[in-house]
C-alpha cells in the first residue's frame, strides 16, 4: 500500500510538471521532516582511486596518527577542528561549515568484511552490494530502480560520467549516462560545437549518437524550466556536473538517483599536494551545490552521499599511502541529523596495518533507501539493518 501511494505521488509529479498540482494537505506533509514525497532524490559522489580517509577526516589528537604517518600527517595547527578529537582536512572548509550548520553527517570506519584492495573489485562490491562478495551483474541502485519503476523509465537515474555505472545497471535501463550535459542546452548549438574528424562517416554517426540519449527530451525540458542559480560554481569538472544535477533537480526532472564521480584519489606518491588539490575540488564543488540547494530550498529533498571504494593504509609509504580498507562516508542534506556516527578510527587495533571497519556500507545504503526513498533494502538483497541515527 505504501508503495502504491508513493508511486501515485511520483506519478502526479511527473504528469503535472512537478508538484504544483499536489493538494495542499500533501504539501504541508512534505514540509515535515523525514516524510518522503515524490521529489526526494539522492546524489552520489564517488571518489575514485581510494580516498585517504585518515587525511580527510583526521584523528588529530591521536599520537599514533603522527607516529604512523611521519611524512604525510597534517599538523594540529592546520586542520579544521570538528569535534570529539576529529578534524577536517584544511581544504574541506565547506565540509566543516556544513557540519556546523548541522547539515553534514560523518559516518566513521565504513567498510565491509574481508576487504578487497583491488580498485576494480572493491568498486564492484560497493556498486553491487553483494551479501558474501558474490558476483552480481546488476548494481544495487539498478535493482532498486527495477522495482521502483513500474515501466521502463530512462531518467529515473542519471549518471553524469563518460562511462556507464555498474551501480545503476539493472534488468531494465532505468538510468542514462550523460557524458556532457552541455549539449542539453540547445540542440543546434551542440551540433556546431562537435569536433569534426577527417572522416565524414564517423562525424555523421557521432552526430546521431549525440542526439539520441534516451530521455533527452525530459532533460532538456527540465533544463529549460530550471531557475537560474545565483551561486557561482567553480570551473572544475565535478562542479560542472553538480551544477547540472542541481539544474535538473530544480527543473523537476524527478529522477531518484544522480551519480557522478571524481578521480585521482589513488595517492601512492606525492600525496600531500595531490590530495589537497582533489579535496579542494571536491569541497568547492559540493559546497556550491549545497549553497545552491539551500537557497532554492531544495536541501531537505536532496541527500548527497560522498564515498570511495576504500581508504588507505594507516602507515605512509614515504610520500604516499597504499590501498587500505575502512574510511569515512559523508552525508549532506536530506534532513540528516548532522552527527558524527561511529567511533574514531582505532589506530592501535589494526588488521595487517589497515583499519578495521565498524559500520557496513550496506547498512548505510539500507538507511538511505529506507529513510529517503521509502524502500526496504531487503527487497534488493541487502540484509544489513539500516544504520540508525543518520536521518
Amino acid at each position: 500500500m505504501k508503495m502504491d501511494r508513493r508511486r501515485f505521488l511520483t506519478l502526479t509529479g511527473t504528469f503535472t510538471g512537478g508538484s504544483l498540482l499536489l493538494p495542499d494537505f500533501l504539501y504541508s506533509f512534505g514540509a515535515q521532516n523525514g516524510l518522503v514525497l515524490g521529489e526526494q532524490c539522492v546524489i552520489f559522489v564517488q571518489l575514485n582511486g581510494g580516498n585517504d580517509g585518515l587525511n580527510t577526516f583526521i584523528p588529530f589528537e591521536d599520537a599514533l596518527y603522527y607516529n604512523l604517518r611521519p611524512t604525510i600527517a597534517l599538523s594540529k595547527n592546520e586542520v579544521l577542528n570538528s569535534s570529539k578529537g576529529m578534524a577536517f582536512h584544511p581544504a574541506l572548509k565547506g565540509f566543516a561549515s556544513m557540519q556546523q550548520s548541522g547539515d553534514l553527517s560523518v559516518i566513521q570506519n565504513v567498510g565491509y568484511p574481508n576487504p578487497v584492495r583491488s580498485h576494480f573489485r572493491s568498486q564492484e562490491i560497493w556498486q553491487t552490494a553483494p551479501t558474501n562478495q558474490e558476483y552480481l551483474n546488476d548494481g544495487w541502485l539498478g535493482r532498486y530502480l527495477d522495482l521502483q519503476c513500474k515501466e521502463h523509465q530512462p531518467t529515473a537515474g542519471i549518471n553524469i560520467d563518460s562511462i556507464d555505472n555498474l551501480a545503476l545497471k539493472g534488468e531494465e535501463a532505468n538510468s542514462i549516462t550523460v557524458k556532457d550535459p552541455n549539449r542539453f542546452k540547445t540542440k543546434s548549438k551542440s551540433e556546431n560545437e562537435s569536433l569534426l574528424s577527417n572522416n565524414p562517416q564517423l562525424d555523421f554517426v557521432r552526430k546521431i549518437a549525440n542526439s539520441v540519449v534516451e530521455g533527452s527530451n525530459d532533460i532538456q525540458k527540465a533544463v529549460a524550466k530550471s531557475a537560474v542559480s545565483d551561486v557561482v560554481y567553480p570551473k572544475t569538472g565535478l562542479a560542472k556536473n553538480l551544477e547540472w544535477i542541481s539544474k535538473l533537480i530544480k527543473g523537476n526532472l524527478n529522477s531518484k538517483i544522480y551519480y557522478t564521480s571524481l578521480g585521482g584519489f589513488d595517492t601512492h606518491d606525492n600525496q600531500l599536494a595531490i590530495h589537497k588539490n582533489k579535496l579542494k575540488e571536491l569541497n568547492d564543488a559540493v559546497y556550491s551545490l549545497y549553497e545552491d540547494l539551500k537557497k532554492s530550498q531544495q536541501l531537505q529533498n536532496v541527500t548527497i552521499v560522498v564515498f570511495s571504494e576504500f581508504g588507505r593504509r594507516v602507515k605512509d609509504n614515504g610520500r604516499g599511502t597504499d590501498h587500505g580498507t575502512a574510511a569515512p562516508m559523508f552525508i549532506i542534506g536530506g534532513n540528516n541529523r548532522g552527527k558524527i556516527i561511529g567511533n574514531n578510527p582505532n589506530l592501535s587495533d589494526l588488521d595487517n596495518g589497515d583499519l578495521k571497519y565498524e559500520i557496513d556500507f550496506r547498512s548505510v545504503y539500507a538507511s538511505i533507501l529506507k529513510n529517503k526513498l521509502a524502500f526496504d533494502a531487503s527487497e534488493i538483497g541487502i540484509q544489513n539493518k539500516a544504520l540508525e541515527g543518520l536521518f
Binding site: 580498485h119 551483474n137 562511462i163 564517423l202 554517426v205
Partner: protein, 464 residues
C-alpha cells in the same frame, strides 16, 4: 582494428573469418569463396507452397472462392513461410565457412529487387534468390538476362500486365534506370520502346516466358538500333552502351567498402569490369586485393545484418533465433525480401537514424545481459509462430585472452570491434578495466563484458 578482422567483416558478417584470411591470405580466401557450392535443394518450409503453374492457378482459384477468413488464413500461412525463408537465409549467412557468396547474393538481392509483399508466391521469390546465389560470382550480363526472366521479376515490376495493346513500362524503365545504365544514359523513347520488346513476357512454369498472343510483333528503335528485339537481344544492346559498367561498380564499392566511393575509383574499376567482359569474379578480386592494401577502415556504416551477426558471433550465441534476427532487421530498416521500393535499401547514412541508433544500443545492452533481441515486444510474445520463446535467456560468452592485463585485453577487444579509437576513449576503457584488473579472479568476465558493452555503443563500432 586488425585488417584481417576488418576484411572478415567486409567480406562476410563478422570477424569469424579473420583467422582464415590471415592464414591463407586474401587471394586464396577469395578463390575458395568463389569455389563454394550452391545448395540447390528446395527447403522443407516450401513443401506446401505452390510451385508449378497449375498449383499456382489452383491457389488463385481458391482465393477467389474462399471466404474472407479462409483467405486471410492462407495469406497468413504464406507470410509465415516467408519468415521461415528469412531465417533460412540468415542461417546461411551466419554459418557459411565462406560467407562471401551470401554477401554477394544479398548485394544482388538489393539490386534486382523483387519483394515477397508484391510477388506473394514464396517459391518464385526462392527461385529468384537462387538465381542470385548461383550467379553471385558469374557474369553480370548473363545474370541480368536470367533475373529479368524470372517469374518473381515479371510479377514484381508488372510485366505480367505488359501487353502489345496495353503497354506497361515499369520493367522496361527499371531495367535501364536501376538495373543497368542508370539515369542519363538512355532516353524516354528507349523506355517506351523497350516496353514493346518486353510485352507478353509473363509467368511461366520455371521462369518467365513470352505469351504469343500478347507479344509485340513489329520492329522498334532501341538505342539507335532497329528491330523486333526480345529481352535477350535488348540486354545485349544495353551492354554495348559505354556507361554500362559504372552503376554496378559503384554499388559494389558501396556495398563492401565505401559509403561514398570516389568517382575516379568507380571509373577505374568499372573500366576493368568492362575489359573483363562483365565477369564478376575478376572484378571482385581486383577491388578487394587493391583495397585491402589501402588504409580505408571506417568508411562504411554497418548495415543491420553486419551489426547483428557480428554481435552474435562475438557473444558466441549458439543457435540464434533466425526469426528474431529477421524481426530486428525489419525494425532496423533491412527487411529481407521486402525492400521499401524497387530502388532497394539506400545504405550509407540512411542506415542510421536516431531511432535506429537508439535501438542498436538498447539491443547491445540486452544481448550483453543475455537477453534476446526484441525481448518483451508484444508482437513477438503473442506470435504463435515463434517456436523459441524470445524471453529465454541466452548464454552469452566473450572470448578474450585470460593471460592478458587490462591494457592487453582492451587492445584485443579494440582490434576486433573498433576501427579506431582516440585517447579519451582509451581512458574510458581503462576506467572500466583498471590497471589492477586480474583476469584470474572469479567474476572478471563481467567486467570484460561491461567493457565490450561500452565499446559496442561507441560511434566507432557502427563503422567498418
Amino acid at each position: 582494428m586488425d585488417n584481417h578482422t576488418l576484411w572478415s567483416l567486409r567480406l562476410g558478417y563478422s570477424g569469424k573469418q579473420s583467422k582464415t584470411i590471415e592464414k591463407i591470405g586474401l587471394k586464396k580466401f577469395l578463390e575458395q569463396s568463389y569455389d563454394t557450392k550452391v545448395d540447390s535443394k528446395i527447403p522443407d518450409f516450401l513443401e506446401n507452397s505452390p510451385k508449378s503453374l497449375d498449383e499456382y492457378k489452383e491457389l488463385r482459384k481458391k482465393y477467389k472462392t474462399s471466404s474472407p477468413d479462409e483467405v486471410k488464413e492462407m495469406r497468413k500461412k504464406e507470410g509465415q513461410t516467408s519468415f521461415d525463408m528469412k531465417a533460412w537465409w540468415i542461417a546461411k549467412m551466419n554459418e557459411d565457412e565462406f560467407p562471401l557468396r551470401e554477401k554477394m547474393t544479398c548485394f544482388w538481392h538489393n539490386h534486382y529487387v523483387s519483394t515477397f509483399q508484391k510477388v506473394k508466391v514464396n517459391y518464385w521469390v526462392f527461385q529468384h534468390n537462387q538465381i542470385l546465389r548461383e550467379n553471385a560470382f558469374g557474369n553480370f550480363k548473363i545474370l541480368t538476362k536470367k533475373i529479368i526472366q524470372s517469374n518473381a521479376m515479371v510479377r514484381y515490376l508488372d510485366n505480367v500486365d505488359n501487353r502489345k495493346d496495353k503497354l506497361n513500362e515499369n520493367l522496361s524503365r527499371e531495367l535501364l534506370e536501376l538495373f543497368t545504365l542508370g539515369i542519363g544514359n538512355y532516353t524516354e523513347d528507349d523506355i517506351k520502346n523497350g516496353a514493346k520488346g518486353l510485352a507478353g513476357l509473363g509467368i511461366g512454369e520455371e521462369n518467365a516466358v513470352y505469351r504469343r498472343f500478347f507479344e509485340y510483333d513489329e520492329s522498334f528503335d532501341y538505342f539507335g538500333k532497329k528491330g523486333n528485339f526480345k529481352i535477350e537481344e535488348m540486354i545485349d544492346i544495353i551492354f554495348e552502351q559505354p556507361n554500362i559498367p559504372y552503376l554496378i561498380t559503384r554499388k559494389i564499392l558501396k556495398w563492401f567498402i565505401y559509403d561514398n566511393p570516389k568517382d575516379e575509383l568507380v571509373q577505374y574499376y568499372g573500366d576493368y569490369f568492362k575489359k573483363m567482359k562483365f565477369e564478376i569474379q575478376p572484378l571482385l578480386t581486383k577491388i578487394f586485393t587493391e583495397e585491402f592494401a589501402k588504409n580505408n577502415s571506417g568508411s562504411k556504416i554497418k548495415n543491420p545484418l553486419e551489426y547483428s551477426l557480428q554481435l552474435r558471433n562475438e557473444l558466441n550465441i549458439e543457435n540464434p533465433n533466425g526469426k528474431l534476427i529477421a524481426f530486428f532487421l525489419k525494425e532496423q530498416g533491412m527487411d529481407l525480401f521486402n525492400q521499401p521500393n524497387v530502388k532497394g535499401w539506400d545504405g550509407g547514412n540512411s542506415w542510421l537514424t536516431s531511432q535506429v541508433f537508439l535501438q542498436r544500443n538498447n539491443v547491445a545492452d540486452m544481448l550483453c545481459n543475455g537477453k534476446n533481441l526484441a525481448r518483451g515486444k508484444k508482437e513477438m510474445d503473442e506470435n504463435s509462430m515463434m517456436k523459441q520463446n524470445p524471453n529465454t535467456l541466452l548464454n552469452v560468452k566473450l572470448n578474450w585472452n585470460k593471460e592478458g592485463n587490462n591494457k592487453e585485453i582492451i587492445a584485443e577487444l579494440k582490434n576486433r570491434l573498433l576501427f579506431q579509437t582516440d585517447e579519451t576513449e582509451q581512458k574510458d576503457f581503462e576506467k572500466i578495466l583498471k590497471y589492477d584488473f586480474d583476469s584470474k579472479t572469479e567474476g572478471s568476465e563481467y567486467a570484460v563484458m561491461r567493457l565490450f558493452n561500452f565499446m559496442i555503443k561507441t560511434p566507432e563500432f557502427q563503422l567498418i
